[in-house]
């Protein structure tokens, strides 16, 4: 008589363990930018490199943080950077800005000031004229985050 009870217990235990496994796997490989990058690139592969994000290591105030994105490119009519997309890990609207360059831009570089909702990693994607995507990022510590959420 104890056999069915034990079998039932074991099967319940096994199904619980099986149910837990996929969650673990998903959590292990979750990259905060993954789905966002896929949305921006339309699933095209993104190579690391050629893009540099310059930002202070420590920003006292998240309301205005100077930032510069530069991309290594000759910027000729046949080989130039078409767009730079700047993504944030923690801002409520993760796409900070999209910059588009014409053939007369001369240099694939843009500097601006951003709002940051806390210490985080920033990612910049660059789309080249041949359609390929390259990326670069930077970490920034923000002491006082921008009051993006209600405060």
């Amino acid at each position: 008589m104890p056999a069915p009870a034990r079998r039932r217990f074991l099967s319940v235990f096994a199904s619980l363990a099986a149910g837990l496994l996929p969650i673990r796997a998903v959590r292990a490989q979750s990259d905060p930018f993954a789905s966002l990058v896929r949305e921006v690139t339309g699933g095209a592969p993104v190579w690391p490199g050629r893009v540099k994000v310059d930002i202070p290591l420590l920003a006292d105030n998240g309301h205005s943080v100077p930032l510069k994105v530069s991309v290594a490119s000759p910027m000729t009519a046949v080989d130039h950077v078409r767009s730079i997309i700047l993504l944030s890990e923690k801002n409520p609207r993760p796409v900070i800005a999209k910059f588009h360059f014409g053939p007369g831009a001369g240099r694939a570089e843009v500097a601006t000031r951003v709002r940051l909702n806390g210490a985080q990693r920033l990612l910049a994607l660059a789309q080249f004229s041949d359609g390929s995507f390259w990326s670069g990022g930077a970490e920034v510590v923000v002491t006082e985050s921008a009051c993006l959420d209600e405060s």
Partner: protein, 106 residues
């Protein structure tokens, strides 16, 4: 909307020049509340573009992640004398523009 634009007055042909623009704008995020507890609607400059003698050299799609009084620094290759025209529009539909002339010497 008031804007400050810095472009060199003169450049050599083929030289890459630095362009800086700062527009006075609150860049309201839409996440803030006023004294009566009413949500302040989002209002940011969503597009800013620069044209050099009619050809677009730079265009930015901005959001609430850009600090108030947006500042942008970018580049252009000086090919011919003429005008660089900047124009922008915010979520409320308010438009602004600024133009500067540049002389290109051989």
């Amino acid at each position: 909307m008031v804007a400050r634009v810095q472009v060199p007055q003169q450049a050599r042909r083929g030289e890459v020049i630095e362009i800086r623009i700062s527009v006075q704008h609150v860049m309201e995020t839409g996440y803030r509340y006023d004294n009566r507890g009413q949500a302040i609607p989002k209002n940011v400059i969503n597009t800013l573009s620069a044209r050099y003698n009619g050809a677009e050299i730079f265009r930015a799609e901005l959001g609430s992640g850009i600090a108030a009084n947006p500042y942008l620094q970018f580049y252009a290759r000086a090919e011919a004398s003429g005008e660089i025209e900047f124009s922008w529009v915010d979520d409320a539909g308010e438009r602004g523009s600024e133009r500067v002339s540049i002389t290109v010497i051989a």
